[in-house]
Symmetry: C2
Subunit: 205 residues, 2 copies
């Protein structure tokens, strides 16, 4: 196979994520990418015009890992499944969470996924303005909980598992233990997501 | 007044925020800070041991701008007021949102504020585990919505107000306009916050 043959969006995205996951998003450059893919920089510029477009592409393509909702399925179940998968994607790839917090997602995969959620909510009888709001609420709360979870993991590693000091929380009874356990687990995330979705879906669902 | 006289945490915090708001958090260094405050670096090291401690101090002190909840007040009203003020603080200071997404908040101001929220929820009859969960949910959703809002503002500026392309969203009727308006306003944030709080408070409230 010729050098760089078969270069497609999928290979570019995988190589980007590999660099970002291992070394941080700051290490992703067109030059580094072309080296890792064993292609010329021009081969990459054939797909994206610059790093800005590259990041847009990576974010959009990465969303393929989250199975879109089925507009004909049960609204609550579908949104829960989608939300949990999206949260998992971000927790597994902190660099995606970081970039999604600062860029608009409007590539074909993101738009397709959003469209299916709006279709699902329309079928469930959710008024358009509430459906639009839930879409924004879901995305930003999934992002916020993922970032919070990622940062707690990172901080725990930095502290080497060190517990909060004994005199923490002004000696308030019980408060130290409660504030020591402000982590987000899969279970806790699912409970938060449940409150959000139930609050928006008409009571019948 | 002697050079650097009256240096206290408040002055350090204000100088940090001024640099971060104007030029980004990356520009905050001990050297730059001592120059802006017209003190020797040693004067700053008298208050914080390193940049890590400095950032912890700035985040914690910045929370003084958010009036804590009154544990004797109406639970829904108090949490709404607190949540809106916290969201406003982050939207007004993007660097705070960015840092809060990656550090644990456990200084005296943060702990005091969290303690009052837990007291308020206990008074409202919320079970401890649900109260702990709401605390995490509130914080991470306020953070997520603020970051989303900040990034949309930044992206709009980058685009120079350019609308989404005509062929956006695959020509789906209405979808382009709906996805063009996935912004977070004060009103939309308050609606999301309402759903979250109502979902956790016992029905009586």
């Amino acid at each position: 196979m010729a050098r760089g043959a078969g270069l497609d969006a999928d290979r570019i995205v995988k190589a980007c994520l590999a660099i970002a996951d291992e070394e941080g998003i700051g290490q992703v450059t067109m030059r580094r990418l072309s080296r890792d893919l064993d292609v010329t920089p021009m081969a990459i510029y054939h797909h994206v015009a610059n790093k800005d477009e590259l990041f847009d592409l990576v974010l959009d393509e990465s969303l393929r890992a989250v199975e879109p909702v089925d507009p004909a399925g049960d609204p609550f179940d579908e949104l829960m499944r989608w939300g949990r998968a999206f949260h998992r994607l971000l927790v597994d790839h902190p660099s995606l969470a970081q970039e999604m917090a600062s860029r608009r997602l409007e590539g074909p995969v993101a738009v397709g996924a959003a469209g299916r959620i709006l279709d699902l909510l329309a079928r469930a009888g959710t008024p358009d303005d509430r459906a639009d709001e839930l879409l924004v609420a879901l995305f930003s709360c999934i992002l916020g909980t993922a970032q919070y979870r990622i940062s707690r993991n990172a901080e725990s590693a930095r502290r080497g598992g060190r517990a909060l000091p004994e005199d923490f929380a002004d000696g308030r009874a019980g408060m130290r233990d409660r504030l020591s356990d402000t982590s987000i687990t899969d279970q806790r995330f699912a409970a938060i997501l449940t409150v959000l979705i139930r609050g928006y879906l008409p009571a019948a669902h």
